[in-house]
């Protein structure tokens, strides 16, 4: 499997600049994602995980964000250096992203059916076989619905909800994400859906475009645990059916365990551990990962207290010297405060940035 990785991030540095301070949000991060692979990026607030996701799809607010150095190679091309037009054509069908709050990602004045049709239309336009036809519905933009305008007036006239051109495919897609009664759902507006359904609609929007890489930023954090279980299973199926790679950004290690092939743990802007899922949960290499695992309350009350990581996530305006985690680390020794550890590979296929793992 020596093919070129789908995504390669090399020594990426991103900071947020303001009038008075500079925050290094991503510090020398490198990682790679192969085809049909699910990678989880796990971290707490300030870890840089969301910034990383936005950097890959080039949706950072610049300013205040600045990419200081590094490369993000998607299918060999450096995304950072692409002009915006080319980047825009890459989004959706090449790299797609879904976010935590589905209701703010779906346009409230268009029906579900229309929005998904729009996504399909975009895919069709970009495919090689697209030919502009003389206003035939099948191969031009779906007719804009009058639904929006009629709703503004406040009166709901019949026939005011247009489905869009690709109804059949839309219904199929909704069925695949296990939405019951898709024929009715395509006529609904986003605010009429529950959180779980809206999230699944957002996922549908992303998958009908058949992206090679899907970035999911905390897609289940706002969902009930029962809905979350369904969505996570859906993601595993997506990888299987579409061959898409998924970059799942989450703060929840348990969620990562459910879907990921490999796990990247980030802390204060750096990668501290990078390993395959089967080994990281049994034997974490970095004290932070170990601490995170211990923080999950898995014991019953009578079984004693949790082993919590003391202290707080560091203020990125003035991060600790040396290893950023050392003030909270129970194994810390002198070297940890003085020097910054870089990633080493104590076991094949597993990396950790910790002096404890240095063999010398």
């Amino acid at each position: 499997m020596a093919e070129q990785p789908l995504l390669e991030i090399k020594n990426l540095n991103v900071s947020y600049r303001s009038a008075v301070k500079t925050i290094r949000a991503i510090d020398n991060v490198s990682l790679s994602v192969n085809r049909s692979e699910i990678i989880a990026i796990v971290g707490e607030s300030g870890s840089g995980k969301s910034t990383l996701g936005l950097s890959i799809i080039n949706l950072l607010q610049k300013p205040p964000a600045v990419v200081d150095s590094g490369q993000i190679l998607f299918q060999g091309k450096d995304v950072i250096k692409l002009p915006e037009r080319e980047m825009a054509s890459l989004r959706g069908t090449g790299i797609s992203m879904i976010f935590q709050d589905p209701l703010s990602s779906l346009d409230p004045v268009y029906t579900v059916g229309w929005q998904i049709s729009e996504a399909i239309a975009m895919r069709e336009k970009r495919s090689a076989s697209w030919k502009p036809g003389p206003f035939k519905r099948e191969d031009s933009e779906p007719a804009p619905p009058s639904g929006g305008a009629r709703r503004v007036v406040g009166v709901r006239l019949p026939r005011s909800r247009r489905r869009g051109a690709y109804s059949e495919e839309v219904i199929e897609a909704l069925k695949r994400v296990q939405i019951a009664d898709p024929e009715r759902v395509i006529d609904r507006y986003p605010h009429e859906l529950s959180g779980g359904m809206a999230q699944r609609v957002m996922i549908t929007n992303a998958i009908v475009q058949r992206p090679s890489l899907l970035i999911a930023d905390e897609p289940t954090s706002a969902l009930d645990v029962t809905t979350q279980a369904q969505v996570l299973r859906l993601m595993r199926e997506m990888r299987r059916d579409l061959g898409a790679s998924i970059l799942l950004i989450t703060h929840d290690l348990a969620v990562a365990a459910q879907v990921a092939d490999r796990v990247v743990v980030m802390y204060a802007g750096e990668v501290v551990e990078f390993s395959d899922a089967s080994r990281i949960f049994k034997k974490p290499l970095h004290p932070y990962t170990e601490g995170l695992l211990n923080s999950i309350p898995r014991k019953y009350r009578e079984e004693g207290r949790l082993e919590a990581i003391p202290g707080d996530v560091p203020d990125l305006r003035s991060p600790p010297s040396g290893c950023r985690f050392h003030p909270r680390c129970k194994y810390a020794f002198e070297r940890c405060a003085a020097e910054r550890p870089h990633l080493v590979e104590p076991e094949p296929g597993r990396m950790a940035a910790c002096f404890l793992r240095y063999s010398s």
Binding site: D224, V225, A277, L306, A308, V313
Partner: protein
């Protein structure tokens, strides 16, 4: 049997839904969001009752109504033997000395323009404590929540989420209450900090001996914190009992579903085919019979017809399922 700290009997809280003008002209009956629908439970001192549920379960409304932050639509709440559900005005205000709350969001529950000392001292000030007493008590609770003494003059926005939540806990503790409602106290916090706060809350309960109602959607949290757990679904209690017993051998299909859906940090233990369809039912117009029946893999005719009552199916184990106790097999409702 010793008197229970808090007893709730058939508590109901409905929120009216404003119909359209057309509805009002046509004299349609007023619709209500049935947030809490006949809930009965009790909590002892030095006990944590975990109230678990997903969105639409009514657990947050339950917590607030129990504290009389909302007036109950009907039902009784008894606190330390006194009926509080009918209190108003000054008598109700006096209750706040004994019953407190910690809110979910540490960013919006602290006044951004107030200094920490004033935030924490507020409950004492509400009842006219003297300056010297206030200073002493603020110091005491700051120590109890592990915040440094010099926090008092700072503003809330200088602190991290976990520290702010400690401030909120300190505020709840300063009047030495007997009972605190913890409304998702760690949901807005990072996991590493969550563990600290949970440890802190347990320590406080062990040291002082108060009663907690812990409201959460997180089954792991309730496992770690609660002596007993009450599972809510769509405004109703579906199961109550000792935490370990309920989570290890549930007596209600919803509880089984909930427990099975919790992801474990173990890639070899992926959540199986959790056979769940549909959505949480409308709170305004719940389905007839058992509210869970449209999604329940075991639903029978009786479930669609008669609403099951919460009854004691085993010593200390309550369930609102017609078939409770008969469905004791696998915790995962597998596809038939």
């Amino acid at each position: 049997m010793s008197e229970r700290l808090l007893e709730v009997d058939r508590l109901v809280k409905y929120f009216p839904v404003h119909g359209s003008l057309g509805d009002q002209i046509r004299r349609r009956p007023r619709l209500n969001v049935r947030a809490v629908d006949e809930v009965s439970l009790s909590i002892g001192s030095n006990e944590t009752l975990g109230v678990v549920g997903e969105s639409g379960s009514g657990k947050t409304t339950l917590g607030r109504t129990v504290l009389m932050l909302e007036r109950p639509t009907s039902g009784t709440i008894t606190f330390r033997g006194q009926t509080i559900s009918s209190l108003k005005g000054e008598q109700l205000r006096q209750l706040r000395k004994k019953m407190q709350i910690v809110f979910q969001n540490p960013y919006s529950s602290l006044d951004p323009r107030a200094r920490v000392r004033d935030i924490i001292a507020e409950p004492l000030r509400a009842f006219g404590a003297a300056r010297g007493v206030i200073d002493r008590e603020v110091e005491r609770v700051l120590e109890a929540v592990n915040l440094p003494e010099d926090s008092t003059l700072r503003f809330a926005h200088e602190f991290s989420g976990g520290q702010r939540q400690r401030i909120a806990v300190a505020r709840a503790l300063i009047v030495s209450p007997d009972f605190i409602v913890l409304d998702e106290p760690t949901s807005a916090l990072d996991s590493s900090v969550q563990a600290q706060i949970l440890n802190l809350l347990r320590k406080i309960q062990d040291d002082i001996g108060l009663g907690f109602m812990l409201i959460t959607h997180n089954v792991d949290v309730v496992k770690f914190m609660a002596h007993r757990v009450a599972v809510m679904y769509s405004g109703k209690l579906v199961e109550v009992g000792n935490t370990r017993a309920v989570l290890e051998s549930p007596f209600h299909p919803y509880t089984s579903l909930l427990v099975a859906s919790v992801p474990k940090p173990d890639p070899d233990n992926k959540i199986g085919d959790v056979n769940i369809v549909g959505e949480v039912p409308s709170a305004v117009n719940p389905p007839p019979g058992c509210r869970f029946n449209p999604r329940c893999p075991y639903a029978q005719d009786v479930c669609r017809r008669d609403e099951p009552l919460l009854r004691e199916v085993a010593p200390g184990r309550w369930s609102a399922c017609h078939f409770a106790g008969e469905l004791k097999e696998s915790p995962t409702p597998g596809s038939a």
